[in-house]
Every structure is written in C-alpha cells, then in structure tokens.
C-alpha cells in the first residue's frame, strides 16, 4: 500500500525567516513535553498533575523562582562554555569535569588557605576564587585541546574521560585530606568566601528574606555579554567562526588553528570552572560530593537549544533551571533526564525545517 500523500523536502535557497529558529526551538520543547507526558502516562503516572506541579514548584512564587534562577546560574556559564566551543565545532563534553576542577581550585583559596581569611577583604578572597576557578577549568580544557592539536586525539572521548577523573580527584580530597570529621565533605567555608546573596539584604528589604539568589548570576550575565562580544564583534571571534564553519578556508587564510583550538578549549574550560566556583561560593559553601546535578551535560543541551547564541543561553538556562528544581521532587527521578534527551532530539530533528522547505504532495505513481 502506498500513502496517497508524501512529504517533499526542498532545499532552502532563500534566507531562513528570523522567527523560525526561535519557533522551532520552542516547538521542540512543547513536543518533548507531550512525548514525555505520554511516556509518563504509559508507566502509570499523571502527566497533568506533574505539569501543574512543575509550574508551581518553579515559577509559583518569588521564593521558588529564586531557586530556579539559582539552578540556572551555573547552567548559564556552562551553556556558554559549550556554546563557544561548539561554535568552533570543538565538542567539549567535559564541562562537568571542568566544573569540578573549577570548584576544587577555587576551594583551595579557602582550604590551604592561600590568603589569611580573617584579615583579607571579601572582594579579594572572592576575586582570587574566581581566578582560581577559571584556572582550574582552563587546565582541564587545555589537556584535551593540546592532545587534539598535537596528536589529533578525539576531544569528545578525552573530555569525557577527564570528567570521571575530575570527580575521583575531587572525591579523594573530600574523603581524605579535607574531610570534615570523616564526612564526605570539607568543613563549611568562612563567610568571607561566600558570594553575596539577596537574603543578606533581608534587614533592609523584607521581601528578600530567604531569597537565595546570589551574585553568580551576574557573573553569568557578564560572561554572556563578553562571549557575545568575542563571537560577534571581535577579530578572534571571526576566526573562531571561520575555523568552525570552514577549517580548510581558515587554513588557507593562514589562521593558526592549533593555537585557536587550545585557546578556545581553555576559554570553554574557564567558563565551566567559573560555574563551579560560583556554585561552591554561592550555594554549597563547601567542597563536597555531587556539587553538580549534571550541569556539565545539561549545558550541552542548553547551548544547542539556544542555537549557540549567548543571550539565548540565559533564557534557555532558566527553563532548564526550572527542570532541575522540579526534577528533584518529581518521581521517578530519571524523568528529568529523559525529558532532556527528548528535547535535544526534537531540537536537532527540527533543524531540518531550517534547512529544507517541506511540502505535502500527492505521491506520484512510480514506475516499478
């Protein structure tokens, strides 16, 4: 039997309408929610109740919205980290490890301690932690960058392996040297190493009491502006994009691909490291296990869904921050993961709409 109608794909020759990328991204998320709902129904859940819960638990009040933004904060930075690497077609899947290394290095400021904590002003301590966090992440980005540049080792695998290595490395220190009385975490950091929170202003503004939103989100927004500027306005950004889109042309143009490759991996790592620092200093206030709820991987989806646009990364991060907040309480626990996978699939499938026009045509009788 043959269907009376078939889909006909025709390559786009004209420019893609401005609204279409955003529409397909939005549409993908909606379709992904519907598919997940069907799966949830299938395994005996109540999709509508979960959906209602999802909204009330993430955007329902200022308190929970602040939780959503707190979860969005590391995602913004990790999403930017992925976006900048992906722009050069460098598949940095290691943001998770770079996040952990950033957290570890910034914790050194407090744990060694690098500066005397009771006599150093807060902004110096925080500043040092930022620098150390970015260095930690950059080192973890340098390794795969160098191996790819020098030995053409596939960065997907190396960055992934380095994720595991970073987590075990982190575990060693929190289980051993800096364990707090045998617990799997370091003692709580001195208040001087805490990023300012809105709740610190609760005395002046009553509305801020219990609002845990911290300064990290500002880092994220600043980082987004800087990355946007680098990619869209600077000479370096032009090189990055050229190498990503057409490495052959870039080589003929005499661009130093090796150097750019390593630098972009380091920049990407530094951004993920900054996310780790912000999480340590703004939320957990100590080094411990599982400081990341898979931010490094969610960042990949965030970057892709945002079509590698730094400002879109901020918006998408908030949506995914909400997913993480709700995901902590939604059962079964793998559901958030599943939803992320489906969303990503929908997004990449919908890209076909950007490259092709699709018509429904009456199928012709084929001569056999």
């Amino acid at each position: 039997m043959k269907f009376p109608y078939t889909l006909k794909l025709e390559k786009r020759t004209d420019d893609v309408p401005k609204w279409l990328p955003a529409a397909t991204a939005f549409g993908s998320v909606i379709v992904a929610f519907i598919i997940s709902g069907i799966i949830l129904k299938f395994i005996g859940g109540e999709p509508l109740r979960v959906l209602k819960f999802f909204f009330s638990a993430t955007f329902g009040s200022w308190g929970v919205f602040s939780d959503t933004l707190v979860k969005a904060t590391p995602l913004i930075m990790v999403g930017l980290a992925c976006a900048v690497a992906f722009r050069m077609k460098l598949w940095n899947i290691g943001a998770e490890g770079q996040f952990y290394m950033g957290a570890f290095f910034s914790s050194l400021v407090v744990l060694i301690p690098i500066v005397p904590l009771n006599s150093t002003p807060k902004f110096v301590v925080i500043g040092l932690m930022i620098v150390m966090g970015m260095i930690g992440g950059a080192i973890w980005g340098f390794i795969p960058g160098y191996l790819k540049a020098k030995y053409q080792v596939n960065e997907i695998i190396t960055t992934l392996m380095l994720n595991y290595i970073a987590i075990y490395w982190n575990n060693f220190w929190i289980f051993d040297k800096w364990s707090d009385a045998g617990f799997q975490m370091t003692p709580q950091f001195d208040k001087v190493a805490w990023l300012p929170r809105l709740s610190d202003l609760a005395k002046e503004f009553k509305a801020f009491s219990g609002i845990t939103l911290h300064l990290g989100i500002v880092f994220g927004i600043i980082a987004a502006v800087i990355i946007w500027w680098i990619l869209e306005r600077s000479h370096w950004g032009y090189q990055i994009k050229l190498i990503g889109d057409n490495p052959k042309a870039a080589r003929y143009a005499g661009l130093n691909i090796t150097r750019n490759l390593i630098l972009v991996m380091m920049l990407s790592g530094a951004l993920a490291g900054l996310a780790g620092m912000s999480e340590i200093s703004g939320v957990v206030h100590r080094l411990q296990e599982r400081i990341s709820s898979g931010y490094g991987f969610t960042g990949i989806i965030v970057a892709w869904l945002a079509k590698l646009n730094p400002f879109a990364v901020i918006i998408v991060s908030i949506v995914f921050g909400a997913l993480i907040v709700a995901g902590r309480e939604i059962q079964p626990s793998g559901l958030a993961f599943l939803l992320q996978g489906i969303i990503l699939f929908m997004v990449i499938s919908s890209d076909v709409l950007l490259r092709y026009k699709i018509y429904i045509v009456r199928s012709e009788k084929e001569a056999a």
């Binding site: 799966i39 395994i43 598949w91 899947i93 191996l147 030995y151 053409q152 080792v153 596939n154 997907i156 695998i157 190396t158 992934l160 392996m161 380095l162 595991y164 290595i165 075990y168 490395w169 575990n171 060693f172 289980f175 051993d176 991987f297 990949i300 989806i301 892709w304 059962q331 079964p332 626990s333 793998g334 559901l335 958030a336 993961f337 599943l338 939803l339 992320q340 996978g341 489906i342 990503l344 699939f345 990449i348 499938s349 890209d351 076909v352 490259r355």
Partner: protein, 321 residues
C-alpha cells in the same frame, strides 16, 4: 593476587567492551558515528534485566536487550541519516534518552534477582594447563560467544561481499550508490546492529558479569570507553577485542592492588589508606586517554584512519563524498 584469577575476571569484563566496541565499529564503518553507546547499553542492561525478571528466562532477556538497544539506535539513525542532523549532538541526546528511559523504567529493579546467563566449563579445552582454567573454565556463556564473535566480525568486514559493501558505504557512499548499493538502507541496518550489540553489552553486565541493577552506576562510563576503544582499535574488530580484554585485565588488576598489605616487600599504601583507591578508579579513564594518544600516533604513522565518510550525511545528488 593471583594472575590466573585476574586473567579469568578480565576476560569476563572485557567481553562487555568487546560487544559494545564491535557494535560501534559496525556503525562507524557504515559512516554513522553513534556516541549514544552508553545510553543504549544502559537501556539494554535495564531491558534485559527486567525481562529476565518478568519471564524467568535470561535468554529472552538477552534478546529483548538487543532489540531495545537496536530500536533506540534507530532514533539516532532517523535523525542523522534522513534529517542529516549533526551526529555528535544526536549521539549525545541518545545517551540522555537511553539513560533517562533506563532510569525511569528501571525504577524498583535494584535488589531483584532474575535468572542469569549460565556459567559453563568447556570440556577438553579446560584441561589445557594455565590457558584452560583462565579461558575455558566457569565462564558465562557470553564470554565464549565473544571469543567466536570477534573473529567472525573481522571476517565479515574484510572478507565477505556484504562486508565490502559496508566499508564502501562508509568510505565513499556516492560510489557505493552508483553501484546500486542501498546507502541509506545499509546505514540504518548497521546503526541497528550497533545498537543491538550495545544492548547485548549492557545485558552482559546485568545478567552475567556483575548481576544486578545499580541505576546509572550499572554501566559507569563503559559505553564511552568502548567508543574510545574503537579509535584505539582503528576500526578493526580483532584489535577491539584485544583492547577490551586488556582493559578488563587492567580493571581487575587495579581492584586487586588494594588487597595485599605489602607489595614487593613494601607496605601497600592502598591498603593503609583506602582513599588512594580513588586514584585507582581514575585509571581506566586515564588509560583510555593514553590508549587514544598511542593509537592516534600509530594511526598517523601507518596512515590508517577513520572511515572517510564517518559523520558525514549522504545526500543523493549532491556533491560530497
């Protein structure tokens, strides 16, 4: 520490990587890079485990695991072969999808005891000194399947006509197309084969080598190691089998290092402070990176490489590979 035991255990754990890596070799030889191995493995591990639990038959579990992995891989196939989506991103989303599905559907499987794949000793062969006890004694059946499967896969790829078609589709799809080889069809087929083998690898964990369901810890990154192994093995099933077994031995060897109180006459630091074990746990991942560097150097020397059309979608009637 007993070398024979390490060898014996290494062969069993190596079998997991063997199946997963050879599956990925089939897909990549056809030009489809599928990074979703970890997700397909976990999904297969869960599907096999729960089916064996429900039906009381481990073989049915194994079959369902393979189908599950294969079906999941078709999502990747559809998106990359027909929609020409980026294979890297699609593979990653497959990992998320497989992991998510496995965790959602695998809720409540922890602590269950389904029937497992039987362990057998091969008569006669097991009597060979040293080799017999390590290779042919008291292994689960899948280990023996692995012994046969790797050379068969190599023979198929290098010596048979369908194997030649497979390589042609991955090296120069446009030429294959003009010869009347169904490029799209074969790419789907080998993506499916890769998914089935990843599913089998997953079920090898839960139904044979280390029985049980430990949610995402079940595979603990072995799917990714398998992907790395493919590059190390230069897309050759025999080398992949060798690499898989090597990894198996090293994993077991590293575990056993923690046992004795003294090593070569010195106090064993791993025994004194078990936290040093974290460094041992890093080793498989460090070794994968080292193997990749080593592999890429020999590949450069011998000018061996990935299938030319790996990761490149084929669009009929357009210029390209």
């Amino acid at each position: 520490m007993n070398f024979e035991i390490i060898l014996h255990a290494g062969l069993a754990t190596g079998t997991i990587l063997l199946f997963a890596a050879i599956g990925e070799i089939f897909a990549e030889r056809a030009g489809v890079l599928n990074l979703g191995v970890e997700g397909m493995m976990l999904f297969g591990a869960m599907a096999g485990f729960s089916t064996s639990l429900a039906t009381g038959n481990a073989w049915v579990g194994l079959l369902v695991a393979m189908i599950a992995g294969g079906v999941l891989s078709l999502a990747h196939g559809l998106v990359t072969i027909h929609f020409q989506a980026d294979q890297v991103v699609s593979g990653l989303s497959l990992t998320f999808l497989g992991t998510g599905l496995a965790l959602v559907l695998g809720e409540g499987l922890t602590g269950q005891n389904p029937p497992l794949i039987p362990f057998v000793t091969i008569p006669l062969l097991s009597d060979i000194p040293f080799i017999g006890p390590a290779f042919f004694t008291d292994h689960n059946v899948l280990v023996y399947v692995g012994y046969l499967f790797a050379p068969m896969a190599a023979y198929y790829i290098y010596k048979t006509r369908p194997g030649m078609h497979l390589r042609a589709v991955g090296e120069k799809p446009s030429a294959a197309d003009t010869l009347g080889i169904n490029v799209y069809g074969l790419r789907y087929f080998y993506t499916f084969v890769g998914g089935m083998l990843a599913g089998l690898a997953g079920a090898t964990i839960t139904l044979a080598v280390s029985p049980g369901w430990y949610s995402s810890q079940t595979t603990s990154g072995q799917g990714w190691i398998a992907v790395g192994l493919v590059i190390f093995a230069q897309w050759n099933p025999l080398q992949a089998a060798f690499g898989g077994y090597l990894f198996g031995f090293l994993r077991r060897f590293i575990l056993d290092l923690q046992g004795p109180a003294t090593l070569l006459g010195f106090a064993n630091p791993l025994y004194v402070n078990s936290n040093y074990g974290f460094f041992l746990q890093m080793m498989p991942f460090v070794l994968t990176i080292i193997a990749l560097v080593w592999g890429s150097r020999t590949a450069m020397r011998k000018r061996l490489g990935a299938p030319a059309a790996l990761g490149v979608p084929y669009i009929r009637g357009e210029r390209g590979l």
